[in-house]
C-alpha cells in the first residue's frame, strides 16, 4: 500500500512542474481529443514526439513512468489482442486457429495500443509533476464558471482536498484495526472463503463507523469556524498564470489541432 507510485507527486524542479496546473489539465484534455482522431502513423509520431519532449522537460526518470505504465500494460495488451481478433475491415491477411486476421484489425489495434500508451504516459507525467492540492485548486478554478448554473465547484474541490488530507489517517486507521482484529485471532492471509469474508467485515465495518464519526466531528469543526459554502469566502492560495503557460498552451493547441486537421485532410 505504501508503494503506490502510480501518479504520485515527485518533487523535482522542472519546467513542467512549474507550469500552471490549469494549463496542464486543459492541455491534457486537448491532447486526449486529438489522440482519438485518425491522422495515421505520422499523426501519432507527432503526438509521440510532443509527449517525449514534455517527458524530458519534466525531468522525471523514465523508470518512474514505466512503473506507472506497468499495471496498465497488461490491460492494454489484452485490449489490443482482443481487437486484433475482433475487427474485420481491410484485407484478410492470414489466420490463426481458424480466425481470420485482417489488415484493418492490425492497424486499428496498433492505433489503440499507441493511443493508450500516449494517454497513460502523459497523464502520469502530469500527476507526477503536479501537487494534488494544486490540481484541486485548478479543478475548482476551471469549474467555477459553472457556479452560475449552481454547479458545486467549490464543494467538490473542498471534498477532494479533505479526502486527500485524510488519506494517511485512513491508512493508519486501517492498520490499527487490522492489528486489533489480529489480536483477536483474525488471520487476514489464511482461511477458507467464509473466514476471509468475516475477516474483511471485521475490518470494513469499524472503518466505516470511524469514518462516519470522523466526518461528523469534522463537519462540526468546520461549521464552528463559520464555514459556509453558500456564502462568499476568500481563498488563501491562488494560481498565477504566466507567460510560459500561454506559450505552452499555444504549442500544445497548435500541435493537437494540426493533427486533427491532418486526420481530416488525409
Amino acid at each position: 500500500m505504501d508503494n503506490m507510485t502510480f501518479g504520485k507527486y515527485i518533487p523535482i524542479p522542472s519546467l513542467i512542474h512549474s507550469l500552471d496546473p490549469r494549463l496542464k489539465i486543459i492541455s491534457l484534455i486537448i491532447f486526449l481529443v486529438a489522440v482519438f482522431f485518425d491522422a495515421g502513423f505520422l499523426g501519432y509520431l507527432i503526438l509521440g514526439i510532443l509527449v517525449l519532449i514534455i517527458a524530458i522537460c519534466s525531468r522525471i526518470q523514465i523508470k518512474y513512468v514505466f512503473k506507472a505504465i506497468k499495471p496498465m500494460l497488461f490491460m492494454v495488451l489484452f485490449l489490443t489482442i482482443f481487437n486484433i481478433f475482433l475487427i474485420q475491415t481491410g484485407e484478410a491477411l492470414f489466420s490463426i486457429f481458424s480466425i481470420v486476421i485482417y489488415s484493418g484489425a492490425l492497424l486499428q489495434s496498433a492505433y489503440i495500443f499507441i493511443r493508450l500508451v500516449l494517454i497513460i504516459t502523459l497523464t502520469t507525467i502530469m500527476t507526477s509533476s503536479t501537487k494534488p492540492l494544486d490540481l484541486t485548486l485548478a479543478i475548482e478554478d476551471l469549474l467555477s464558471p459553472l457556479k452560475k448554473v449552481k454547479f458545486p465547484a467549490h464543494e467538490i474541490a473542498m471534498m477532494i482536498s479533505i479526502a486527500l488530507r485524510f488519506i494517511p489517517d485512513l491508512l493508519e486507521e486501517t492498520k490499527r484495526i487490522m492489528k486489533a482484529q489480529a489480536s483477536r485471532g483474525v488471520d487476514f492471509n489464511e482461511g477458507k472463503f467464509m473466514e476471509k469474508i468475516k475477516s474483511i467485515v471485521s475490518l470494513v465495518i469499524p472503518l466505516f463507523i470511524s469514518a462516519f464519526q470522523r466526518a461528523e466531528e469534522l463537519a462540526n469543526a468546520m461549521e464552528s469556524r463559520n464555514y459556509n459554502p453558500d456564502a462568499p469566502r476568500t481563498r488563501y492560495k491562488s494560481l498565477t498564470w504566466q507567460l510560459q503557460d500561454t506559450v505552452a498552451l499555444i504549442i500544445v493547441t497548435v500541435v493537437c489541432v494540426g493533427v486533427i486537421v491532418m486526420s481530416v485532410i488525409l
Partner: protein, 276 residues
C-alpha cells in the same frame, strides 16, 4: 463585569424519550475561567454545542456577547465564540498547519493579501511558527490542538470553549494546552469555558458549574462548590486531593482548614508539625 454568556431555561433533547438538557440557567462574566464538571453523559458536550449553535435549542434562550443566539445571527455570533474539540485529528482541516489556520480566515473573507501576516501572528502565539508547513500526521496531539487554538484566535473571539480538549493528549500535551489557555485567559481577558474531568484544574477556576443528567446541580466559586465533598461523590466526581487529606485527618481528630490547593495544605501541615 458584564455577562458575556447568559443562558436562561435552556432545554434540549436528542430524542423524545428524555431531555438531554433540562431547563438550565447560568451566566458567565467576561474574562472568567469557568469549568463545567460532570460525568460522561451528563450533557456537558451538548451544552458546548448549543452555545456555538451546532445544535438548535428546544426552548429557552442563549445570549452571547449581548446578542440572542438564533438561526439568523448564527454566523455573526460564531465570531465571538470558538471551540476546541476532543479529537485533535478530526478538527484539523487543512493539509498543513498554514492551510488549517487559513481555513478560518477564508471563512471570514479576510483578503488573501492579509492572510500571511495573520497566519504568522497566530502561529507564533501558540508556539507553532516553526511548523507552518508541517502536515498533521507529523504533529503530536498537543501540537495539533495548539493549531486548533491558533485557528480560533484568528477569528478574534471573546470566548473559547474547550470540550475535553486535553483528554486525548499525553501529559506533555495536556500541560502545553493548559498553560496556553491560562495565558490567553490572563492576557487577553479571554473568557474560557473548560469542560473537563480534572478536579485539580477546577480548583483554579473562577467559577464551577456542576452538571448531572442535564441539570445544573450547583454553580459557584470553587471554594464553595468543591468543598461540598459529599455532593461531588454522589455525582461520581473526584474530590480535590487537598480536601481529601483534610477530611481524612478530621477523622483522626486532627483539624485542618479545608484547603483546596495542595500547596496551602502542605503549608498548614508543616506549620502544625513545627508547633509540636
Amino acid at each position: 463585569m458584564e455577562d458575556v454568556i447568559k443562558v436562561e431555561n435552556l432545554s434540549f433533547a436528542y430524542n423524545e424519550e428524555r431531555e438531554t438538557i433540562n431547563r438550565i440557567s447560568f451566566s458567565i462574566e467576561k474574562g472568567q475561567y469557568v469549568t463545567i464538571l460532570g460525568h460522561n453523559g451528563s450533557g456537558k458536550s451538548t451544552i458546548a454545542k448549543l452555545l456555538i449553535g451546532l445544535l438548535e435549542k428546544k426552548s429557552g434562550s442563549i445570549w452571547i456577547a449581548g446578542k440572542e443566539l438564533n438561526v439568523e445571527n448564527l454566523y455573526a455570533i460564531r465570531e465571538h465564540i470558538g471551540i476546541v474539540f476532543q479529537n485533535p485529528d478530526n478538527q484539523f482541516i487543512g493539509a498543513t498547519v498554514r492551510d488549517d489556520i487559513a481555513f478560518g480566515l477564508e471563512n471570514m473573507c479576510v483578503s488573501p493579501g492579509n492572510m500571511e501576516q495573520l497566519i504568522n501572528t497566530y502561529a507564533k502565539r501558540v508556539g507553532m511558527i516553526d511548523f507552518l508547513d508541517h502536515e498533521p500526521t507529523k504533529l503530536s496531539g498537543g501540537q495539533k490542538q495548539r493549531v486548533a487554538i491558533a485557528g480560533i484566535l484568528a477569528m478574534a473571539p471573546d470566548i473559547i470553549i474547550l470540550d475535553e480538549a486535553t483528554s486525548m493528549l499525553d501529559p506533555i500535551g495536556k500541560r502545553e494546552i493548559n498553560s496556553l489557555v491560562k495565558e490567553l485567559n490572563k492576557e487577553k481577558e479571554m473568557t474560557i469555558i473548560s469542560i473537563t474531568h480534572d478536579i485539580e484544574e477546577a480548583v483554579f477556576a473562577d467559577q464551577v458549574i456542576l452538571l448531572h443528567e442535564g441539570k445544573i446541580i450547583d454553580v459557584g466559586s470553587p471554594e464553595t462548590i468543591l468543598r461540598k465533598t459529599e455532593l461531588l461523590t454522589n455525582l461520581e466526581l473526584d474530590i480535590p486531593f487537598a480536601l481529601k487529606v483534610s477530611e481524612g485527618l478530621a477523622q483522626q481528630n486532627i483539624q485542618v482548614r479545608k484547603h483546596l490547593s495542595i500547596e496551602k495544605m502542605v503549608e498548614e501541615l508543616c506549620q502544625l508539625h513545627s508547633k509540636k
